[in-house]
């Protein structure tokens, strides 16, 4: 095998990977720009740019409300998990107690919970709190998903900060809160950022809880709205609308991901302890 040939093979492989990864999304975007019967022709380039589908989802459906809902849920979940996660990670990484490892494993275990296993219990809890069909109920239930990995990643990062630095702060007269805010938090910002981003994406994309714990259009989040977009009859899915909605909600996530590629990659790596 000559060097040139293997290089060419590598580029070909890279091209295939890029194409396979990006093409479905590209095709969805193309579809969303077609209108009427053009939808059913399989052109790979749009002949004309029609924004009808986009206009339609915002005009005919409460899609803007849905996006706002998703945004609030995700933001709320991110803030609460970061705050709780930070204090929990502090407690975990600072105190060496027996069973700490076990506790860490349990936390990791919780993140592997099948969501459906807590569905009925969570449903009861949310109804009892009066949060059924409310955004607050979704936030609460999402914490079960986001908190474990937030704690895990932050604890991993926090352990990298030497204990002596913390002790130096104690000698300087800092209390626990000052230590968290002024000593631990600033170097942790990159980690906070990537876990926050992961939590945001997790909350933005969640489906099972959102489907089960909301009832009305006005309380739905993006994934549910897209899944339940329906046309005139059951057999006539409004593909153009669906693709337009898909592209609309994916673009922010994609932009975030593209900007913060490296942080996501390092956050993911830390989250699994690799």
């Amino acid at each position: 095998m000559s060097r040139g040939l293997s290089r060419a093979g590598l580029y070909l492989l890279a091209g295939i990977i890029a194409l396979a990864a990006a093409f479905p999304f590209y095709y969805a975007a193309i579809t969303s720009l077609k209108s009427g019967d053009a939808l059913f022709s399989m052109d790979l380039l749009p002949r004309q740019w029609h924004w009808d589908n986009y206009v339609a989802i915002f005009a005919q459906q409460p899609f803007a409300t849905t996006i706002v809902n998703s945004f609030w849920v995700a933001t709320g979940v991110v803030s609460v998990s970061l705050m709780l996660g930070l204090s929990a990670a502090y407690a975990l990484s600072r105190n060496r107690f027996r069973g700490r490892r076990l506790l860490m494993m349990t936390i990791l275990g919780v993140s592997m919970f099948p969501q459906v296993a807590v569905l009925s219990g969570m449903f009861e809890l949310i109804r009892w709190l009066g949060l059924y069909n409310r955004i607050g109920g979704l936030m609460l239930s999402y914490l079960i998903i986001t908190l474990p990995f937030t704690v895990w990643v932050l604890a991993t990062f926090m352990r990298r900060l030497p204990r002596e630095v913390e002790e130096a702060a104690i000698m300087d007269g800092a209390g626990p809160l000052t230590i968290i805010w002024r000593i631990f938090l600033p170097p942790l910002m990159p980690a906070m950022f990537s876990t926050g981003l992961l939590a945001f994406i997790a909350a933005w994309n969640e489906f099972l809880f959102a489907l089960t714990f909301t009832l009305t259009h006005e309380q739905r989040t993006v994934p549910v709205a897209i899944a339940l977009l329906s046309g005139a009859s059951e057999y006539e899915l409004p593909w153009g609308h669906i693709m337009a909605a898909s592209v609309t909600v994916t673009v922010p996530a994609v932009v975030l991901v593209l900007i913060f590629q490296r942080r996501i990659v390092s956050g993911l790596a830390a989250g699994t302890g690799t």
Binding site: A18, P24, V110, F113, I226, A227, T250, A253, I264
Partner: protein, 285 residues
């Protein structure tokens, strides 16, 4: 506080387990009566009842296991290839990495819809291409044909989650010591040999962790199947089955039993993995 957090996570789980021992219905959770193991397995009037006797449940278990096995294997293989390509110094690598991250960032529901569209029996691009190349004679109903549905689900899942695998493996590859490779280069060892003799053994721990993560995640698959192939028992996963009982049929007791079984299946897999991974780690150290 940690204990409180754990309690918050454990409480709904405990309630679910409790519901699985009652005849609770969604309409009136409060009126639940304790019925013991009836939701799992019961013998009454010469007939067996319960989740464990439901052929549909067993079907969902089979679907789930096949799904996990095939999709995780494919993802591992493709993820490893992608990671290796990303590791190589090629031009436009950031662009490639961005493209690879794309499926990961897309909501599962969106990817389900996208694949639903690509695999559409009449207007889908996949059928169109296959027809024009002459691979198939007439359009295939990818998301409706019992023989093809699980395949469609697997394709969509592999597309969506291979990036995750690739990123984890890439992180592991980045931690490998450079001098190993330089030594191998000096010794003139063939790159393929280097991969199987040096790279693979070195990233084995990370590979195992990644595979287990993906497998545990795949075991609870719900959204993709729910949206891509709704209401079909040919692709129904354990999660889909449980939710259908819980919400659509309003039978909280029965559905909780199915959920609990899924939970313990996953717990069992995790424990097995932990037990199997310990000795190997100890042996290598």
């Amino acid at each position: 506080m940690l204990v409180a957090l754990l309690a918050v996570a454990a409480w709904p789980l405990a309630r679910t387990v409790w519901f699985s021992l009652t005849d609770a219905t969604l309409a009136d959770l409060g009126a639940a009566r304790f019925v013991g193991w009836d939701n799992y397995l019961a013998y009454r009037d010469g007939e067996w009842f319960g989740v464990l006797t439901d052929p549909v449940w067993w079907r969902s278990v089979r679907n789930t296991l096949w799904f996990v096995l095939i999709s995780v294997s494919l993802e591992t293989l493709l993820g490893l290839i992608t990671a290796l390509v990303l590791l190589a110094r090629i031009p436009a690598r950031p662009l490639l990495q961005a493209a690879v991250l794309l499926p990961w960032a897309i909501p599962t529901i969106v990817s389900a819809k996208m694949w639903g569209w690509l695999l559409h029996d009449q207007f889908g691009l996949v059928n169109d291409i296959l027809l024009s190349v002459g691979l198939i004679a007439r359009p295939l109903a990818w998301t409706a044909d019992p023989d093809l549905m699980l395949g469609a689900v697997i394709v969509a899942d592999v597309w969506k989650t291979t990036p995750f695998m690739a990123l984890l493996l890439l992180a592991a590859l980045h931690t490998l010591p450079r001098d190993c490779y330089e030594a191998a280069r000096v010794d003139g060892i063939h790159p393929v040999t280097v991969f199987f003799r040096i790279t693979l053994p070195l990233i084995r721990p990370a590979l195992i962790v990644a595979v287990v993560f993906r497998a545990l995640d795949a075991l609870r698959i719900f959204d993709l199947i729910y949206v891509l192939t709704p209401n079909s028992e040919y692709t129904m996963s354990m999660s889909v089955y449980a939710r259908q009982q819980l919400v659509d049929f309003q039978d909280v007791g029965y559905g909780s039993a199915a959920s609990t079984l899924l939970f313990f299946t996953i717990a069992l897999c995790t424990t097995l993995f932990l037990m199997l991974s310990r000795p190997t780690q100890g042996g290598k150290a």
